[in-house]
């Protein structure tokens, strides 16, 4: 059998394997596991508060594709717990941490959440990152009537009595970013995003906003997750000639996009890009020289000048190394633990119902500024900040909403958003 003949026969087989590989790769990346929707009835809480300690659970992906991001959240949660314990604990009880690994799989998140609640008997769980992981955990927390503190900005249009959302919802991140662009006299924008739920939902909102505010959307492009060839998309962006680009790309695609963008002769002076998924942690990976001068929309930057933030950054770098940076989701996670402490102390109880009851109006002087829990929708009032990426890789506040914006996950306070939810 000569190789040439053998391979001719094998060619279709190889093509098939190749195709199967692509499919599994796509499947793994976009899997949304709603599978573990727990149907068990609300069990009697087994949380033990009789001793000197109380258990809480941290649930972050310490392995898999999301580990890069979620490890940083786990780090800042650990820091907050350490600080609280050193300061006397919560209601005089030391926090005992049970750390679980969500493995970047939504179904694992659901399983581990159930384990934390029913077998470890934790008083509350902190963690989650992707919307898929949150959506998978939501039915578990509702069925078991327990509490989840979710620290990442997301696409909104959700609210559960059993989840506290300490990251931004759309009206605290995307809408202010659009307000900023409008203020700068931007009349046309181009939307670039990864092809999954967050960018598509975000762009729906952006389109509605643009229509109501006389901003022209010149194009809307989606790249598959992990897409690395952006020459065509950048060509489209360039030839459309918009005033600005709104970027909801996720992960590594940002690197390829910004390199291509810069090589095509585009930059912050010619066509600024506002990104909602690039924080301090990601700037290093994308390469500072590729994104310097571009804009981001968040609620926290490491460079915020306040005593609370100085303490936070100093403590974080003392614990994990001076080369580490602090980013928005890390800060939101850090804040979430203090907010829970505030709620428990206000309720004088670890009981879920009491904590929910006491939640409204609990405030904390967070590194990002003062934040307040909204008892109705369980989100928190946060200040929106537009930042500009500096040559040192840190992000500097360029524009601020000035005061905390009340959370409005369903965008009910905006006429143009009617019909979106």
């Amino acid at each position: 059998m000569t190789p040439s003949r053998a391979t001719t026969r094998l060619a279709p087989a190889a093509a098939l394997v190749a195709l199967a590989l692509t499919l599994t790769a796509c499947g793994a990346r976009t899997a949304t596991g709603d599978g573990a929707g727990a149907a068990t009835s609300a069990a009697e809480s087994c949380v033990d508060t009789s001793g000197d300690t109380v258990k809480i659970g941290f649930l972050n992906s310490l392995s898999g594709t999301m580990a890069i991001s979620e490890q940083t959240v786990a780090d800042s949660l650990a820091l907050a717990a350490e600080e609280i314990n050193a300061d006397g604990g919560v209601l005089g009880k030391q926090l005992e941490i049970v750390q679980e690994d969500g493995q970047s799989e939504p179904t694992v998140f659901a399983e581990k959440a159930e384990k934390l609640i029913t077998s470890d008997c934790v008083a509350a769980v902190f963690g989650g990152w992707t919307s898929a992981s949150r959506k998978a955990m939501l039915p578990v927390f509702e069925a078991q009537d327990s509490l989840l503190f979710y620290p990442v900005q997301y696409e909104g249009l959700e609210s559960s009595p059993n989840i506290f959302y300490t990251g931004a919802t759309t009206n605290q991140q995307i809408v202010p970013a659009l307000d900023y662009l409008k203020e700068q006299g931007v009349e046309s924008i181009f939307l670039v995003g990864s092809d999954y739920v967050f960018p598509r939902t975000a762009n729906k909102i952006i389109n509605a906003y643009a229509e109501a505010n006389g901003i022209e959307v010149l194009g809307e492009e989606y790249a598959p997750l992990g897409h690395t060839d952006f020459s065509t998309i950048v060509n489209k962006v360039k030839s459309a000639g918009a005033d600005a680009v709104f970027n909801t790309l996720n992960g590594d695609s940002n690197v390829a996009f910004f390199k291509e963008y810069k090589n095509a002769g585009l930059g912050p002076d010619t066509m600024p890009v506002v990104s909602v998924s690039i924080a301090e942690e990601e700037v290093g990976g994308v390469g500072v020289e590729n994104v310097e001068g571009q804009f981001t929309a968040w609620n926290y930057y490491q460079t915020i000048d306040s005593p609370e933030n100085a303490t936070f950054v100093e403590a974080f770098q003392a614990k994990y190394g001076a080369d580490r940076v602090t980013s928005d989701p890390m800060e939101a996670a850090y804040t979430s633990l203090y907010l829970w402490k505030g709620m428990v102390e206000k309720a004088e109880s670890f009981d879920v119902a009491d904590v929910q009851e006491a939640a409204d109006g609990v405030t904390f002087d967070a590194p990002e500024g003062s934040v307040t829990v909204n008892g109705d929708n369980h989100h928190i009032a946060k200040t929106a900040l537009i930042g500009k990426i500096g040559p040192d890789g840190l992000i500097y506040t360029e524009w601020s909403s000035g005061e905390p914006i009340e959370p409005d996950p369903y965008l009910e306070g905006y006429d143009w958003a009617e019909g979106l939810s």
């Binding site: 053998a6 391979t7 001719t8 190889a14 195709l19 492009e221 065509t232 390199k259 291509e260 390469g287």
Partner: protein, 294 residues
Amino acid sequence: MDVLFSQLFAGLSLGSVLLLAALGLALTFGQMGVINMAHGEFMMAGAYTAFVVQGVVGNAGVSLLVSLPLGFLVGGLLGLLLEATLIHRMYKRPLDTLLVTWGVALVLQQVARDVFGAPNVDVRAPAWLSGAVDLFGLAVPKTRLFILALAVVAVVALAVVLKVTPLGRRIRAVVQNRDLAEASGVSTRATDRLTFFIGSGLAGIAGVALTLLGSIGPTLGTSYIVDAFLVVVAGGIGQIKGTVIAAFALGLLQATFEYSTTASIAKVLVFVVIVVFLQVRPQGLVSVRTRSLA
């Protein structure tokens, strides 16, 4: 009109990336019939070589020029090791090779993750490659031009090796009729090893080139291996010419579809075109006619 030209260039550029990724495979899969799923990981090794070299050398321009031959060497040596330890034991068992090399690919990915960490790393492009040049009134990114040139050089060099050198003659002889070549005194064992070395080395070069376009991560190879196999299969197995034509055809096709639809749809359409094409012409664009008996 501008858009037409810039899209044309985008297609050619994408084609050159595909070509670099597929060229080595055209040798190892096309000529030798080895389905090497670890080919993508050799690219990844080449990319990390560029990263390490830049860390040592510092200067981005010098490090790129050093990385190209070094990437070839690293990829090639990895290939040689793989051939000598595993693949040569299963030349008659192609489907087993597929599974074994896939396993090797997973191992290499994990090794990269353990050595370099899970987060992606970035290689700076040299100053003389940043920005764009004006070509017939069209702003063409220099990195893309460089990769296009690199692909052309690689193809020409490979063609020269195959057509002119004694090694090339031996490779072609073994491909066309292994038994007769062996009977004529050609050491097929040594030829296989060298072919595999060159093919894997080309993957290393492709990896170095990719650092100019995106970031480097342990799974860099997996995003290219599928496209690389498609190029070789569509181009026709056993002929470098077919691989070159197929790479540019697929690049142009992808760029055209992507411009008129979206990136996701374009990918699907390209797959559909290839599937239909292989139905009509299962042997690919260019096929080899041999007088061998099997």
